[in-house]
Point group: C2
Chain length 322, copies 2
């Protein structure tokens, strides 16, 4: 049998895939559209896309790893709640994947866990054994690696750092609670806050108000970080506020687990030091153990293919999900 594996990150619109050898050499990567309502059709597309892009790929792979957002059980291969993939929810995803690829072993993982594993093997976490990752996207996800193994939890519920409550009187979160990290540092929350500042805050800069009005529904965190990089105070304060709350969450994680490194990924993290520097300044003030205060807080390095790479590595190293 070949030693070549597939790693595929199933998003709501696109599947990103990589094919790697046992020595973790990448043979190729690509993207193909997801059929959000039809997992079988999506997996057939994935198989055809790989065959077309990599004629040298084997007919039968050693294993296939699949990552997606949602509650994923590495033990059973079951995908539970997964709002972006309505047709995939509550399915035996591992079995579907195995069936779609000639019965080979399938590994399934949550997408942020997979991205953390990708960063651990190839990116910002290389050389570490204990990592925390926080992914600042539309929502905020997370992952925990202890002694080189992903912590998935007793009921596959680990890594929900986005719903750490930082102030029970804080802003309302999509989950219904108040003051979750996601309600401060997810892109939905940041955009909402930006729109609110543009309307309510008399001190908001003219440029800031102008940008928010002009972009309307198309306003993005990269529009805002662009403005902040140009020196706009209102935009800078917006990211600094999110960075401080990110710092509180990071410090809480460090006080609990004292990892080797903390990795910040996701689209909002593209704001870079606008959000990371306030976080880095805050963390040492809130970490009790002196030796742990200078924990490196670093941006993710493997970009949007981190989860595909990570789940390919998990498919190679089956059994490394704690």
């Amino acid at each position: 049998m070949s030693d070549v594996v597939i790693g595929a990150d199933i998003g709501g619109t696109m599947i990103k895939w990589v094919v790697t050898t046992a020595s973790q050499e990448p043979l190729g990567q690509g993207r193909v559209q997801t059929a959000p309502a039809d997992p079988q059709r999506s997996l057939r597309r994935l198989r055809k896309d790989i065959a077309a892009a990599l004629p040298q790929a084997p007919d039968v792979f050693a294993a296939v790893g699949v990552a997606c957002a949602g509650i994923v059980s590495a033990r059973t291969g079951w995908l539970g709640r997964s709002p972006n993939l309505p047709g995939w929810e509550d399915t035996a995803l591992g079995q579907l994947v195995s069936d779609a690829f000639a019965g080979v072993p399938a590994v399934v993982a949550n997408d942020v866990n997979a991205a953390l594993y990708g960063e651990y093997r190839y990116g910002a976490g290389q050389g570490c054994r204990n990592l925390i990752m926080i992914a600042l996207g539309t929502g905020v996800g997370g992952g925990v690696l202890v002694e080189g193994r992903l912590v998935t939890g007793a009921a596959d519920g680990a890594g929900e750092i986005g719903h750490m409550i930082l102030d029970p009187e804080g802003p309302t979160c999509t989950c219904g609670n108040r003051g979750c990290l996601e309600a401060y540092a997810g892109s939905v929350a940041l955009l909402q806050k930006a729109r609110q500042l543009a309307v309510d805050d008399a001190k908001a800069s003219t440029d800031f108000v102008g940008l928010v009005r002009e972009r309307g529904e198309r306003l993005s965190t990269s529009d805002l970080s662009q403005l902040a990089r140009n020196g706009d105070d209102t935009a800078r304060e917006l990211f600094a506020g999110a960075g401080l709350r990110l710092g509180q969450a990071v410090a809480n994680c460090v006080n609990l687990l004292d990892p080797d490194r903390v990795i910040i990924g996701g689209g909002v993290a593209a704001a870079g030091d606008l959000i990371l520097e306030p976080c880095r300044r805050y963390v040492p003030t809130a970490v009790l153990s002196e030796g742990s205060r200078q924990v490196p807080i670093v941006p993710a390095a493997k970009g949007s293919f981190a989860a595909a790479l990570g789940v390919a590595a998990l498919a190679q190293h089956r059994g490394e999900l704690a």
Copy 2:
């Protein structure tokens, strides 16, 4: 060589010790006074006390485990900051212990980590592989067990759950920050809050105000829990408020790690359901993953000898500190 080990929990006033066989049969236990300024003298006392109490104990033990409060490195045996043991701080504690017991292997651990390990092996955590412990004492300590191994951290700073910041505008903590769990649920914080209620709160019950005045400096959390058990509303609300904040901290830990069980120990936990029930009611409202919401939140079972038992078990199972 014998297979008998010692486990000793070095407190600021007393050393609690147990002697166990490899099969973890307890041969005996006892207490002897600590010399807080003189570790060598304390260890000689410990040795004599065991010899007197257990004439059948071997001359040379298989290993000696020692637990104490503070920053302890299981890897190097070094004891760093340890406010209750001024003469023991910044010493090669593992070496001192080994020297005091005829050169046998020594294992050192933080006291809450050791108590967690004791609960895992013999108490409220039996049968689980993933546990979180929160010890509500004068301060608030914690410990994390992942896949049967204690998480000590990159710089021995893990487990500081007491300094999880639950509200950056909250009450001032002994560490200088605001809104730490310890500032809501440690006994110092609870007693301070009780005294404040007795003076400032016009709605405080007559019994409550009377108790606080009568007990003065000797007021204890067990005085207050007694009053609460007798149905006093002010005392009940005091514990319920601490229980809610404990719930916020537990939920944050569960969202991050999704353990099999959460164990609550320490003197304040003797208030039992007065503090645990509000915590248990809050946690399911704040845990994102549906399958993890009903995580059992249980009182510690091994009482004040948990740390001695735990560090004896660690001495038997050397290498189980992650």
